[in-house]
Amino acid sequence: MRTRFDEQLDQLHIELIKMGALCEEAITAALKSLFDRDKSLIPVVLEKDGEIDRKEREIESLCMRLLLQQQPVARDLRTISSALKMISDMERIGDQAADIVEITENMHDKKFEIASSIHIRSMSQEAVKMVTNSVDSFVKRDLELAQEVIRYDDIVDDLFSKIRGELIELMRQGGTDGEVYIDLMMIAKYLERIADHATNIAEWVEYSITGVHGKMDGGEA
């Protein structure tokens, strides 16, 4: 006989998976809109961002109900508190996907070619992969995958500084409208932030499994 508490925890798990999936979809669609110059995806991303915000509130109130009514302890408490932290990271990912399409909307009107020398494509692939893996690590409660995501953050950070260098070089050479480079720079920054949020999610997954949070319990500062 399953208690209401267990049912609510399962419900929380399902809602988090759905929210994670929405984040993946939002960021994937945003980048597809950028690279494929597909304007039709812009409202899709904004719609997803709205849905992510709604999901956040929904999950938040579910967590609050669980905390107040059931007064969970130990592992269950960790699950709920990390869920509360995770949703705010997911919500930020959704916002940043929306920010990216807003920039992209401007760029669509201009004639430009994203030079293949810029690593923005590979950076976006890596960022999406991190989001997917962090959600996967939560879904499968896979500690190893979560730790891989945390380690992976450095790669995205390196890519960011690489892109920055490349853009500075391109601007020095002149040529295309300088605005495009600034836009690309901002997109790269958003991607870097998204990767950070994915790392945070992975850290909360680690915490909910082991009870130890890498950064808070005296890991890297």
């Binding site: 399962d10 419900q11 798990h13 399902i14 998976i17 759905k18 994670g20 999936a21 993946e24 979809e25």
Partner: protein, 553 residues
């Protein structure tokens, strides 16, 4: 039950014990009283006897610490009392026992002291001279007997209680032990109490029924599992909350996951948008289907709600791989497009030439040249249609394809001799290096394979090039190699040359007459013979096609 029996026995023992004590106490009291009176009566008679001889001095000689003796005259005046001064005592005429003695010769009475703890028993006897002798004795009341007996009684009670406790627990265990030992798996063997036999028989019958139903259910489940496990399609059964109740290995394979843990939510298996909306729709009671694309494979998902009366009781998801179907569909569309295109080109030429002639726009002397063109195009159409027929025959695996022992060398000779004129015309050196190799095969298909291979080698060759057809008997198999010094096939196109109508670079195919079906016929013919086909080619150097036929068909 043990507890209840224990308590019952214990209380019964307790009640009996207390009742027994009360009854015994009453008897003791009664006996005591009677005994006492008897003694007092005897004593009075003795003392009266003594008094009649010794007078008052006899009374005074009696010991003072025994029962109280009072001598009263017929008017109630106390003449003597053993425990008090007789002159100070009041008149005893009104005392109950004295009155009785004066009237009937003897009288008795008993009086309680103020504390009720003692009782004075009086016995009065009328002497012959009319005076009355009274003997008084203090006796113990029931209460005091009881009080004096409390200690031993408490001891007995405690002992009895302990004994009762012990025996009650033993007895209750003894009664319930056979019940505990009843083996409910085989209740009919344990008829301990007759009163229980109806229950046990009923339990046994129900056991048998349950076992039978369990066997049936297990059987049905095995049946279901065997059926679903052997399906290529994936099946998932979900409850209302989207938890996986049942699945088959097909589902695991098609979803591209390693395992499904118990009661896992379906969203953990695939959270893509299409999948989610389908599942949600099914869980809300409507049928939905979609195509999932993942890892280069395409997978059809059907989500059906399971309705119980008017409520959704869950959902069944069926997945099937339609990658091949989609590919076949694509190939078929391409084939149709290619066939119509390839057929249209010569037909357009024929129609064009014919139209010009019909309109009389051609000079008489040019007509043979036009007729030649029409003839050439018609020939091309015919050969193409023949190739298509050949291919579809191979596709259908039509009758007339019975395999018989065939010597590849002979087939090769025949094919080569048919191609000799073409080779000479193109100035290609057509070499043949064969040794007898017997395989099981369909002669005209084999000849078609060799003919097409050599034909291609000649057509797509350089000027003054050469073609070599080699056949080797390699024991269990026979190999055919056709090599040329031709233009070769680029690496990235080598995969595709066996496709129907596929021709390396369209522009070049205009120069060379060909239907684009030759290698396709080779491939299908080889498949019919279970032969393997491999291709080695270097652009500008030449091409080598190698076929290996197993000897046993």
């Amino acid at each position: 039950m043990t507890k209840r029996i224990f308590r019952a026995i214990f209380y019964v023992t307790l009640v009996i014990l207390i009742a027994a004590m009360v009854i015994i106490l009453a008897f003791i009291r009664d006996f005591n009283k009677n005994n006492y009176r008897e003694q007092m009566r005897n004593e009075a008679i003795y003392i009266a006897d003594g008094l009649s001889y010794g007078g008052i001095s006899y009374l005074e000689s009696l010991p003072k610490d025994s029962n109280r003796i009072t001598w009263i005259d017929q008017d109630g005046v106390v003449l003597y009392d053993s425990q008090a001064d007789a002159s100070t005592m009041e008149n005893h005429k009104e005392r109950e026992e004295v009155q009785e003695a004066l009237a009937s010769g003897r009288g008795e009475s008993s009086r309680y002291s103020k504390t009720l703890a003692e009782k004075t028993e009086n016995f009065a006897l009328r002497l012959e001279d009319g005076t009355v002798l009274r003997i008084s004795a203090t006796t113990l009341t029931t209460l005091s007997i009881f009080l004096s007996m409390t200690q031993p009684m408490a001891l007995v009670l405690v002992l009895a209680l302990v004994l009762a406790l012990f025996l009650a627990s033993k007895t209750s265990k003894y009664i319930t032990k056979p019940l505990e030992e009843v083996d409910l798996e085989h209740p009919e063997q344990a008829l301990v109490y007759d009163e229980l036999s109806p229950f046990l028989r009923r339990i046994a019958a129900q056991n048998r029924q349950i076992q039978k139903q369990m066997r049936q259910m297990q059987h049905r489940q095995r049946e279901f599992r065997t059926i679903t496990e052997n399906m290529q399609e994936g099946i998932l059964v979900l409850d209302t909350k989207g938890e996986v109740l049942s699945y088959n290995t097909g589902a695991i394979r098609l979803l591209g996951i390693d395992h499904i843990s118990e009661k896992e939510t379906i969203y953990a298996l695939n959270r893509s948008e299409g999948f989610r909306t389908c599942v949600e729709a099914a869980l809300h009671g409507s049928h939905r289907e979609t195509t999932l694309e993942q890892g280069g494979r395409s997978c059809q998902l059907l989500a059906n709600p399971v309705m119980e009366e008017e409520f959704v009781a869950g959902a069944v998801l069926v997945l099937f791989d339609n990658t091949e179907k989609a590919e076949r569909e694509k190939l078929r569309r391409e084939f149709t497009a290619n066939v119509s295109h390839e057929l249209k080109t010569p037909l357009t030429s024929i129609s064009g030439f014919a139209e010009i002639i019909k309109n009389g726009m051609v000079r008489q002397e040019d007509i043979p040249r036009f007729a030649e063109n029409i003839y050439q195009e018609a020939q091309r159409l015919i050969s193409m249609v023949q190739d298509i027929i050949q291919l579809s025959r191979l596709d259908e695996g039509e009758s007339g394809m019975e395999k018989i022992p065939v010597d590849l060398a002979a087939v090769a000779q025949s094919a080569v001799s048919r191609l000799r004129p073409l080779a000479e015309q193109k100035e290609i050196d057509l070499q043949i290096d064969v040794e007898p190799a017997q395989i099981m095969g369909v002669p005209h298909v084999l000849e078609e394979i060799l003919y097409n291979l050599c034909d291609n080698a000649i057509l797509y060759n350089k000027e003054q090039g050469s073609v070599c057809l080699r056949i080797r008997d390699e024991g269990a198999q026979a190999s055919v190699t056709v090599s040329d010094t031709g233009i070769g096939i680029p690496q990235e196109e080598q995969e595709r040359v066996f496709e129907r109508f596929y021709r390396v670079s369209r522009s070049r195919s205009k120069e060379v007459e060909g239907t684009g079906l030759g290698l396709s016929i080779v491939k299908h013919g080889a498949m019919l013979h279970d032969a393997s086909v491999s291709l080695k080619s270097e652009p500008g150097e030449g091409t080598e096609i190698h076929l290996v036929f197993p000897k046993k068909a």
